[in-house]
C-alpha cells in the first residue's frame, strides 16, 4: 500500500516509515498541516495516517477538508489527544479510525488493514475460511459440513473474525467491533472468550483456523 504519513515529530515519523516499510508498505511523509493537506488533495494513497496537533493546524481539519472535496482516502488519526470526546470529534470529521499515542505498532497495522479493506467488504451472506462456513442469514456455522452450535456472542465474535479473514484483529478492535466497547477491561476478557470459541471450532479438527498473533491479537486463516 501507499500511505501518506502526516506527522511533525521526526522520531515518530521515522518509526512509522520504517515499521510500515517492514510490513511492505510505501510511505510519503508530510511534516505539517499545509504539506499534509496538499499531498492529500493530490491523492494516490491507499490510506493516510495523520497526527492531530500539527504545525499550522489540526490533522482533523485536513481530513474534514479532504472529505468536503469528496476525497475518501481511508484516514487514521494518531494522536496524544486520546480521550473519548476527541475520538468522537475525529470520527465525525470523517476519520475512519483513531489511535491514541502511545500506541502499539501492531495495533496500527491491524487497523490500517481494516480501514483499507472495509471498502471492499461485500454484501456476502456466507463467509468461508477453509472448511469453516458461516451463514449470516440462518446464523449457522458448519465445519466440513458438521454443524457447530455457538452462543450468540460467540457467533458475533466469529463473524467479526471472518469478515477480517487473513487480517490481524486486535483485542481492542474486537471489543469495539463485537461489543461496541471503547475500553479495555482489566482482565484479558477477549482471550478467555477466544479460547472458548477456539475450542468449539477446532476440537476434533486437525488444522487450527484461529491463530494468536503474539502481542497484538488474532487472525483467522486457512493457511
Amino acid at each position: 500500500m501507499r500511505i501518506l504519513v502526516i506527522e511533525d515529530d521526526p522520531g515518530g515519523r521515522n518509526v512509522l516509515v520504517q515499521g510500515l516499510a517492514e510490513c511492505g508498505h510505501e510511505t510519503v511523509c508530510a511534516a505539517d498541516f499545509a504539506e499534509g493537506l496538499a499531498l492529500g488533495v493530490q491523492g494516490g494513497f491507499d490510506a493516510l495516517i495523520a497526527d492531530r496537533m500539527l504545525p499550522g493546524g489540526d490533522g482533523l481539519d485536513i481530513v474534514a477538508s479532504l472529505r468536503a472535496q469528496k476525497i475518501m482516502t481511508p484516514a487514521i488519526f494518531l494522536t496524544a489527544m486520546n480521550e473519548v470526546d476527541d475520538r468522537i470529534a475525529g470520527l465525525r470529521a470523517g476519520g475512519d479510525d483513531y489511535i491514541a499515542k502511545p500506541f502499539s505498532f501492531l495495533e496500527l497495522v491491524a487497523r490500517l488493514e481494516a480501514v483499507t479493506r472495509r471498502q471492499e467488504a461485500a454484501a456476502e451472506t456466507v463467509l468461508r475460511v477453509g472448511d469453516l462456513e458461516v451463514d449470516l442469514l440462518s446464523r449457522t456455522v458448519k465445519r466440513s459440513g458438521t454443524e457447530i452450535v455457538l452462543q450468540p456472542r460467540e457467533f458475533r465474535l466469529l463473524e467479526f473474525l471472518m469478515r477480517h479473514a487473513g487480517q490481524t484483529v486486535t483485542r481492542t478492535m474486537l471489543l469495539e467491533g463485537v461489543w461496541k466497547y471503547r475500553f479495555e477491561p482489566e482482565t484479558k476478557i477477549i482471550d478467555v472468550q477466544m479460547s472458548r470459541l477456539r475450542q468449539k471450532i477446532e476440537r476434533g479438527f486437525d488444522t487450527p483456523l484461529i491463530h494468536t498473533v503474539r502481542g497484538s491479537g488474532y487472525c483467522i486463516r486457512a493457511d
Partner: protein, 459 residues
C-alpha cells in the same frame, strides 16, 4: 493598592444621589416659594384696591372730612400696624400713621414698592388725588412677605447644609464599608495569587451582595483548589506508579545487553520489554483518564442510558471469564428498554459501562472458585442503583475511603491485579454523573453500589 475614599464608586454614587436629591428638592421649594409669593402679592394688591375703593367712596359721600375721619380711624394705633395711611389735606394737614409723605411715593393712580422712612421696612403703596387737591397714600407693610422670604431662604440653606453633611457622612460610611468588604476580597485574592490556595474570603451573615460575591469567589477557589489537587495527585501518581515499571523495563533491557545471547533470547527479552511498556501505557492512560473525568474536562453529551442494558451486555462479555473462574454471575435486572421499574440514568454509556465493567471485573477476580457475584439494578428512592456484590475477601472498612481517593493497591489481595486504579476510575465516573460510589460489607465480600440520580422521563 489603596485608593482614596473620594475615588471609590460608592462615595461618588452617594454624592450623585445627594446632588440629585438637592436638585429635585430645590425645584420643588422654588415652585412653592414663587407660588406663595404670588399669592401674598395678589392678596396685597387686592387689599390696596379695596382701600382705594373704600376711600373713594368715603370722599364721595362726605367729602374731605369724611375721608379724613376714615383715614384717622383706620390708622389709629389700635388697628393693624401693617396698614399704612397718609392723607395730606388741601391745607397741608397730615393725617395717618406716617410722619411725612414718603419719598419715592408713586404718581397718583400708580402702585410701587418703597422703603418707609424711619421704619426701615418695605411697603407696597398706592396713591390717589381727590378733586379738592388732597393726596392719599394707602399701603401694606411687606414684613410678612419679607419674613416668609427669609424663612424659605434659611430653610433652603439649612436643608442644603444638612444634605451635604449627611451625604458626606453616609458616603464616607458606605465607602468605608465597601472598601472594607472589597479590601477583604482583594486581600484574599492577593494571598491566593501569592500561592496560598486555601485562603477564603470571610462571608458575613447579612447575605448582601458582597456576601454573594464572596461566596461565589470562595466556591470558585474550592473548585480551583480541588483541580490543582487532582493535578498534583495525578503527577504524584504518575511518578509513583510509573517509576517501578519503567525501572523494570530499563533493567530488563540492560540485563539483556550484558552478555551475548541467542536471537531467541533477545526476542524473548524484547517481547517482555514490550509487555512492560504496555503495562506502563495502560497505567498512564488510566491515570490520565481518571484525571480528565475528575477535572470535568470531558465534553461528552449526556444521553439516557438503561442500566439494565449496560449490565446485561457486560454479563455477556464476562460470562465466559466467570465460568472459567468457577464463579456464578446472577443478574437481578428489570426488563430492559423501559416499562415498570426501569433503570434509566443520564450520562455517557461508555463511561458507565467501563465503571460497571471494573466493578464486575474485580468481583469475579476476587471471588473464590465456587463463589457467586450478584449484579442488581433497581430503583432506589429518587435514584437508580447498580450494585455488584461478591463473596470474596472484601475490603476492610478502614480502607474503603482511602481506596476511593487514591490509586492505592490492596496488599491483602496480593497476587491479583491491582485494584486501586480500577476503583478510582469508578469513583471518578460516578462523580462525573453526579452519582455516588458506596463500598459496603457483603458479609462476606464486597458490595459496591453506584447510586445515580434517575434520568428524567423520556420526552
Amino acid at each position: 493598592m489603596r485608593i482614596s475614599l473620594s475615588q471609590t464608586t460608592t462615595f461618588r454614587l452617594v454624592v450623585y444621589a445627594c446632588l440629585a436629591f438637592m436638585a429635585v428638592g430645590g425645584v420643588v421649594l422654588a415652585f412653592l416659594y414663587w407660588s406663595m409669593l404670588s399669592v401674598i402679592d395678589s392678596q396685597i394688591e387686592g387689599a390696596l384696591s379695596r382701600e382705594v375703593s373704600d376711600m373713594t367712596a368715603a370722599y364721595a359721600k362726605g367729602g374731605y372730612e369724611r375721608l379724613r375721619r376714615t383715614v384717622a380711624d383706620r390708622a389709629s394705633p389700635h388697628q393693624d400696624t401693617m396698614r399704612i395711611y397718609m392723607l395730606i389735606g388741601p391745607g397741608g394737614a397730615a393725617t395717618g400713621n406716617l410722619e411725612t409723605w414718603p419719598e419715592g411715593a408713586p404718581q397718583p393712580g400708580q402702585t410701587a414698592g418703597i422703603e418707609l422712612p424711619h421704619a426701615a421696612r418695605m411697603a407696597r403703596v398706592r396713591t390717589l388725588v381727590f378733586a379738592d387737591g388732597s393726596r392719599l397714600l394707602v399701603g401694606r407693610a411687606l414684613t410678612e412677605r419679607t419674613n416668609f422670604q427669609l424663612i424659605v431662604r434659611r430653610s433652603l440653606l439649612s436643608a442644603l447644609a444638612a444634605n451635604l453633611l449627611l451625604g458626606a457622612a453616609a458616603g464616607t460610611m458606605l465607602a468605608l464599608y465597601a472598601r472594607r468588604r472589597l479590601g477583604q476580597i482583594n486581600a484574599t485574592a492577593e494571598e491566593v495569587f501569592e500561592g496560598d490556595l486555601s485562603k477564603r474570603i470571610a462571608v458575613g451573615e447579612g447575605g448582601d451582595e458582597y456576601d454573594h460575591v464572596a461566596q461565589n469567589i470562595n466556591a470558585m477557589l474550592d473548585r480551583i483548589q480541588s483541580l490543582v489537587a487532582t493535578v498534583r495527585g495525578v503527577t504524584e501518581n504518575i511518578a509513583h506508579d510509573l517509576r517501578t515499571p519503567l525501572n523494570r523495563l530499563r533493567g530488563r533491557l540492560e540485563v539483556a545487553l550484558m552478555a551475548p545471547r541467542s536471537p531467541e533470547d533477545y526476542q524473548a527479552a524484547l517481547k517482555r520489554a514490550i509487555s512492560d511498556s504496555e503495562t506502563i501505557v495502560d497505567t498512564f492512560n488510566g491515570i490520565l483518564k481518571i484525571a480528565r473525568i475528575k477535572a470535568g474536562a470531558l465534553a461528552l453529551p449526556r444521553e439516557r442510558v438503561d442500566l439494565a442494558e449496560v449490565a446485561e451486555e457486560l454479563a455477556d462479555l464476562y460470562q465466559v471469564f466467570a465460568e472459567e473462574s468457577g464463579v456464578t454471575v446472577e443478574m437481578r435486572l428489570p426488563p430492559r428498554g423501559g416499562g415498570e421499574g426501569s433503570v434509566f440514568v443520564l450520562g455517557d454509556p461508555h463511561l458507565i459501562s467501563q465503571a460497571a465493567a471494573n466493578l464486575l471485573d474485580n468481583a469475579i477476580k476476587y471471588s473464590p472458585p465456587g463463589g457467586k457475584v450478584t449484579v442488581t439494578a433497581v430503583k432506589a428512592g429518587d435514584g437508580v442503583s447498580l450494585t455488584v456484590a461478591d463473596n470474596g475477601p472484601g475490603i476492610p472498612a478502614a480502607m474503603r475511603t482511602a481506596i476511593l481517593d487514591r490509586f492505592v493497591r490492596l496488599d491483602a489481595a496480593a497476587g491479583k491485579q491491582g485494584f486501586g486504579l480500577g476503583l478510582s476510575l469508578v469513583s471518578a465516573v460516578a462523580e462525573w454523573h453526579g452519582a455516588r460510589l458506596e463500598l459496603a460489607d457483603n458479609a462476606p465480600g464486597l458490595r459496591a453500589s453506584l447510586l445515580f440520580p434517575a434520568a428524567p422521563a423520556a420526552s
